[in-house]
C-alpha cells in the first residue's frame, strides 16, 4: 500500500499545480491544456479508489469530448490565440480570501469528522456489471431523466449556436 500512497501524492501535487495554472494562466488554450492534466489526474485517482469504469468514462467523456468542446469554444469566440491581459475580474483579489476561508472551513470539518480513519484495503475493482445492475435497477428513473437532459442539451445547443 506504500506504492499507492506514493502514487497518490505525486498525482495529487501534479493535479493541484495544474489546477492553479488553470485559474491563473493568461492564455485560454493553455488553461484548457492544464485542465486536461487535472482531468487525467482525477481519472488516475479514480483508479486508486477502485473505480475503473468511472475512470474510463472520465477519460472518454471529459478528455475526449468536453476538452474538444472547450477548444472549439475558444477557437470560435476569439480572434487570436495567445496571451491576453483582460481575463480576470478587477476584484480578483477577493477570490483568494473566499477560497482560503472555504478551504479552512472544509479542512477543519474533515479533520474533526474523519480524523485518521483509513479506507478499507481492497484488491478488487468495482466491475462494470455491478454498476450496470445499479443503473438499470434502482436508478433507472434518473437514468431516463438524464437521457432527456442530454437530448434537450443537444437540441438546445444546436438551436442556440446555429446561424439563422
Amino acid at each position: 500500500m506504500i506504492a499507492q500512497n506514493i502514487g497518490f501524492w505525486i498525482i495529487a501535487i501534479v493535479m493541484i499545480v495544474a489546477a492553479l495554472r488553470v485559474v491563473t494562466t493568461n492564455n485560454v488554450v493553455h488553461a484548457a491544456l492544464w485542465l486536461v492534466v487535472v482531468l487525467a489526474g482525477a481519472a488516475a485517482q479514480y483508479i486508486l479508489l477502485a473505480a475503473e469504469f468511472v475512470a474510463v468514462t472520465q477519460v472518454l467523456v471529459y478528455i475526449g469530448a468536453v476538452m474538444v468542446l472547450f477548444l472549439f469554444g475558444t477557437m470560435l469566440t476569439r480572434a487570436r490565440i495567445g496571451a491576453e491581459s483582460d481575463l480576470n475580474n478587477s476584484y480578483k483579489k477577493l477570490g483568494i480570501p473566499v477560497g482560503l476561508v472555504m478551504l479552512v472551513a472544509m479542512g477543519l470539518a474533515l479533520v474533526s469528522s474523519f480524523g485518521d480513519e483509513k479506507l478499507p484495503q481492497t484488491t478488487t475493482v468495482v466491475s462494470s456489471q455491478e454498476i450496470s445492475d445499479q443503473i438499470f435497477g434502482p436508478y433507472l428513473l434518473p437514468f431516463w431523466a438524464l437521457s432527456f437532459v442530454l437530448l434537450a442539451a443537444v437540441v438546445g445547443a444546436i438551436v442556440l449556436a446555429r446561424k439563422d
Binding site: A19, L20, V38, Q45, L49, V54, Y62
Partner: protein
C-alpha cells in the same frame, strides 16, 4: 490510505475552482473552473463509495459526468451566441439586466 487524503485533495480542487469562478472574467475560463468543482465532487463520491463498500457513488459519479457534458454543451452554445451578438465574452460587459 486515509479517507482524509482524498477528501482534502477534493477540497483543495473545489476551492481552486471557486477562486476561478470568482476571479475569471472570460466565460470559457469560468466554465473550466466549474469543471474543476464538478471533478472534486466526483472524487468525494468515489471516496465514500469505497469507504461504505457500495456502488451507489459510482452511479452518481457517472450521472455527474453526463450532466457536466450537457452543461458544457449548452454553456458553450450560450457563449457562442453572446459572442456573436456582442463581439465579446467578458462577463463584466453583460450588464443589461442590472437595475
Amino acid at each position: 490510505m486515509f479517507v482524509n487524503q482524498f477528501l482534502f485533495l477534493a477540497a483543495v480542487l473545489f476551492c481552486i475552482g471557486v477562486y476561478g469562478v470568482v476571479a475569471r472574467k472570460n466565460a470559457v475560463l469560468m466554465l473550466m473552473s466549474i469543471e474543476l468543482i464538478l471533478n472534486s465532487v466526483n472524487i468525494n463520491l468515489l471516496t465514500f463509495a469505497l469507504r461504505s463498500g457500495s456502488t451507489d457513488g459510482h452511479v452518481f459519479a457517472l450521472y455527474i459526468i453526463a450532466v457536466a457534458a450537457a452543461e458544457v454543451g449548452v454553456g458553450l452554445g450560450l457563449v457562442l451566441l453572446v459572442y456573436r451578438n456582442k463581439k465579446t465574452i467578458s462577463l463584466d460587459d453583460l450588464s443589461e439586466m442590472r437595475g
